[in-house]
């Protein structure tokens, strides 16, 4: 029997018994994002000569946080809620050559960890932030989150959410991230390409991946993926029309001095 090619990067067995199948609900987008990330990492390892040991995966708390130390056979950290980015900062300062990938959810990045997120982008630290945005607090029971679209019914807003949703990409861009992109789980090839670009980028790369929560949205995953395809429009094609749709694509791709490089220059003055 042929096995999935990405299983070589996963821990199928742990000290307490088998770890697979994953803890995610059927059709969860977090598993898909893990699959896309591993495809991107696999291509980088094969093409650029980057070693497996150079990668570090860090996550906070939430559904998305389960992706790191539970399943990944890489160096990884499952850390405190909303504070995955400060811990990534510490890892980067200890060894600036590391390629750090942070898995974070919308609640972890933007609700409880919003301030850390802003300041990581401001410093332009060399981390890749993959934000799995399912638009609600999935792990605690589907409550309304700052990223819930207006009008969506959740466990705590049964008559529809009356608030405006947070635009994470605009926030990352204005805070100073070098690379900002938004994709959905229904765009696999584009997401893999974007993650590869983000990991290769010197500076903060923020990639928001709109993801489905079929359990709390009470919709089959396949239908949610079709909705993502129907309700999104590429930023290159929009040009004034399709404003009622969600914009996807690369919003920002620029060169800005990276924090650890600047710090290294200061240290060189004292040699």
């Amino acid at each position: 029997m042929t096995r999935h090619p990405m299983l070589k990067y996963l821990k199928e067995k742990g000290p307490a018994g088998p770890r697979m199948p994953t803890i995610m609900c059927p059709g969860c987008g977090a598993g898909q994002v893990l699959n896309y990330t591993l495809h991107a990492v696999d291509e980088i390892i094969h093409n650029d000569g980057t070693r497996k040991e150079d990668f570090v995966f860090i996550s906070g708390v939430g559904c998305s946080a389960r992706l790191t130390s539970h399943y990944l056979n890489f160096d990884s950290g499952w850390t405190i809620h909303g504070r995955s980015l400060p811990i990534a900062t510490g890892a980067l300062l200890a060894n600036p050559s590391l390629k750090i990938v942070v898995f974070t959810g919308d609640g972890d990045a933007m609700a409880i960890g919003g301030n850390h997120f802003i300041h990581t982008c401001r410093r332009n630290l060399d981390v890749t932030i993959l934000c799995i945005n399912n638009g609600l607090y999935g792990m605690t029971g589907g409550q309304v989150a700052p990223t819930t679209p207006t009008g969506t019914a959740t466990a705590t807003t049964p008559y529809g959410n009356m608030e405006e949703a947070f635009d994470l990409c605009k926030m990352a861009e204005t805070s100073g991230a070098s690379y900002v992109a938004r994709w959905t789980t229904a765009h696999p090839r584009q997401t893999i390409k974007s993650i590869k670009k983000g990991i290769g980028k010197k500076g903060t790369a923020f990639i928001e991946i709109l993801s489905q929560c079929p359990i709390h949205m009470k919709t089959p995953p396949v239908e949610m993926l079709r909705d993502f395809k129907a309700n999104t429009v590429s930023i290159n094609k929009s040009r004034g029309h399709g404003e009622d749709k969600i914009l996807i694509g690369e919003f920002c791709h620029m060169e800005r001095p990276e924090w650890t490089e600047k710090y290294q220059k200061i240290l060189e003055q004292f040699d």
């Binding site: 090619p5 059927p26 059709g27 090839r189 396949v222």
Partner: protein, 72 residues
């Protein structure tokens, strides 16, 4: 012809692979795994072009495509 291999222990029956397949080579089957999830199966593998999209979109790492080497 390409072959499909599905791990019944890992599959959770979300059937995202069935929807993602551009050639409709995969379909839902009557087989159910011990947890009660409907498993996908080969439907018409003549249509498989080896794009491996089913492998990429699977959230549970349960499906794999074996590409047959072309005989020269």
């Amino acid at each position: 012809m390409n072959r499909l291999s599905i791990n019944p222990d890992y599959c959770k029956g979300c059937l995202i692979c069935v929807d993602a397949c551009p050639g409709k080579a995969i379909g839902a089957s009557d087989r159910v795994n011990p947890k009660g999830y409907t498993l996908p199966a080969e439907r018409d593998m003549q249509q498989c072009n080896g794009c491996k999209l089913c492998e990429i979109v699977c959230p549970d790492f349960a499906i794999a495509v074996e590409i047959e080497e072309e005989k020269s």
